[in-house]
């Protein structure tokens, strides 16, 4: 059997999996957007009902889910840039694999401090002595 190819733009390896992740994160973000417009619409009901729903966003578990959502949005954004580079830059298709790893590197570099600031309060209230 022939050795597995290094993958084409959409078949196998980086090209395919970045496409899969783009779909999964896109659908996830779409469903969150639906919920998010509904929760924000509560500002037209009363300040109290809005504040009560927003307070759930501040709880540890939902806070962790927000980090996941932020990661999904960031990946979708970075891979979107990669897709545009493939479509509009003449050398884009040739470097699509390298660009996948490049956006993953940017993802990590942004998410590490991002996670620190997003989870700081939760970690402090759960494990710290100060409130």
């Amino acid at each position: 059997m022939a050795k597995a190819p290094a993958g084409t733009l959409y078949r196998g390896r980086e090209g395919m999996w970045s496409w899969v992740a783009h779909r999964v994160t896109g659908v996830l973000i779409f469903f969150f957007l639906f919920a998010h417009v509904l929760d924000t619409a509560l500002v037209r009901v009363s300040p109290d009902s809005y504040d009560r729903v927003i307070n759930t966003y501040k709880t540890p578990i939902v806070n962790l889910m927000e980090l996941g959502l932020t990661g999904a949005v960031l990946y979708h954004a970075l891979n979107g840039l990669r897709i545009m580079a493939i479509d509009f830059w003449e050398k884009g298709p040739r470097y699509q694999r390298q660009m996948t790893w490049a956006i993953l590197a940017v993802f990590v570099v942004v998410m590490v401090p991002g996670a620190y600031f997003m989870l700081e309060h939760t970690v402090r209230t759960m494990f710290g002595s100060a409130t």
């Binding site: 896109g26 659908v27 957007l33 500002v43 300040p47 966003y57 927000e66 979107g80």
Partner: protein, 144 residues
């Protein structure tokens, strides 16, 4: 190739550069090309709008912990942030709806399943856009 029963049309992949032939309804316009361009143009704007939104709401100045009704009222006192949020709402909802339309077209095999899933999708998009737009335009900071 002979015609087959509905739901089991033979798969024909045209050459990518082949000139589009006009057959049946739906292929008379360049809708798919405009949708392709829209995904890239709206995506570019959304990168600024949404990543900016996430940075302000979740990261800066103790993030989500400081958000409440008063915070929203303070932001929406400025036309700049109302415009930002309105653009974000419309672009994200249309971008997402178009993406989900592609996903439905890819995975829903039966014509009727595809039709009803898309009706559900378009109904939800319509409701989200109308509700979100109304909320931004009719926001009242003095509401009790």
């Amino acid at each position: 190739m002979t015609a087959t029963a509905e739901g089991a049309a033979p798969v024909v992949i045209e050459a990518p550069r082949a000139r589009r032939t006009r057959h049946g309804k739906g292929s008379r316009t360049n809708f798919e090309m405009y949708s392709w361009i829209f995904m890239r143009m709206s995506g570019l704007l959304l990168i600024v709008l949404v990543l900016g939104h996430l940075l302000i709401m979740n990261v800066l100045d103790s993030g989500v912990q400081r958000i409440n009704f008063g915070f929203v009222a303070g932001r929406w006192a400025s036309p700049f942030w109302r415009t930002w949020d309105l653009m974000q709402l419309w672009l994200a909802e249309l971008h997402g709806t178009n993406g989900l339309r592609t996903v439905i077209n890819d995975y829903a095999v039966r014509d009727s399943t595809r039709f009803w899933l898309k009706m559900l999708l378009y109904t939800s998009a319509f409701l989200v856009l109308v509700l979100g737009t109304l909320v931004i335009f009719t926001f009242d900071p003095t509401i009790k």
